[in-house]
Amino acid sequence: MKLRRTKLYLPGNNPNMLLRGHLFGPDGVILDLEDAVAMSEKDAARILVRDVLTRGDFGDCEVTVRINAMDTDLWRTDIETVVPCGIDGIRIPKVENPKDVALMGEALSEIESKAGIPVGKTLIFCLLETALGIWRSYEIATASKRVAAICPGGEDLRADLKTTRSENSEELIGPRRIVVLAAHAAGVDALDTVYADITNDAGLRRETEWVKQLGFQGKSVIHPNQIPIIHDVFTPTAKEIEQAKRIVEAAAEAAAKGLGAVQVDGRMVDRPVVKRAEFTLQRAGLKSGGEK
């Protein structure tokens, strides 16, 4: 499993952010061709993003591009421009229909095939920014094998729910729970929306702790200063790491002896617990992962 604690949005027509964003150490970057780019600058941003993807350096970051929504006439040109650059994935905004995700999967296969990129390499991250999108989240998450994560929206979703932002985002409790449930049922990541108040560190920490407890694997980020706080919340404590190490070691020992059951600290440990312990070590940077 890949670490996706933080995904930093980088405006697609801003060279400074596009070239330097990864230096702030997020797990992933999102080069944004959608909301961050004025309609009159879509063409220039596309060229700039293409060249940054081709010639720039993103270190170990997972590189994704947020394309324009599929109800516009921009999305096809977006993917034709960025997918041949060999990106890790695309973010589709305002997904409501599983058929759109399947259609996107086919379009990506065609482009990958022409560009000599392994078919299936480009993952899909779905932004669910309407009530209908949230309601259909499981069908959307399972509409293509490429789907790596589903993400609830923030402001767009609030508007569609005919509500407004409250201090603790009570209005998004239901949607977030649905997305987590659907994501884990479908075997994809649940990634939370941005925390818009970039000066409120305590609020960001509180919200991150809450969404982690719900079952989210990370959050989108709109300011580099938010990255260390979110990483801190998602990074296991020394006690959790020690316990995880004991579980993983005991499981390896049992496997070597051909035993199924493992006992750690006087308690029986089964496979899901071992998997969780492995994930804890991965979050702590002590174990590498390779899955979607």
């Binding site: 027509n13 801003n14 060279p15 400074n16 009159s40 220039a44 060229i47 700039l48 060249d51 940054v52």
Partner: protein, 90 residues
């Protein structure tokens, strides 16, 4: 005369303005900005190379630089020239 423009004066960016030239006049490049004294030759070379790859042989280019590297300069030149060729002048 048709002109087109791309880019901004934000840090690490540049504004590239292109305008039509008579056939046979070639590519002419004028520049302004703090980096011109040190990187002027490189700016001219990258600008001409980008335009030639696009098949543009006669054009007048003005670059207002605010620390754009080669990558950004080339992207802005391509965007401006594409707008000019596509008739999307601004």
């Amino acid at each position: 005369m048709q002109t087109a423009q791309a880019g901004t004066l934000e840090s690490m960016d540049c504004i590239v303005t292109v305008s039509e030239s008579e056939k046979g006049r070639g590519i002419t490049v004028s520049m302004e900005g703090a980096s011109v004294a040190r990187f002027g030759e490189a700016i001219v070379s990258s600008t001409k190379d980008t335009l030639k790859k696009m098949g543009v042989l006669d054009i007048s280019v003005s670059v207002q630089d605010n620390g754009a590297g080669d990558l950004v300069l080339r992207a802005r030149v391509e965007a401006a020239a594409t707008r000019l060729l596509g008739g999307d002048a601004r």
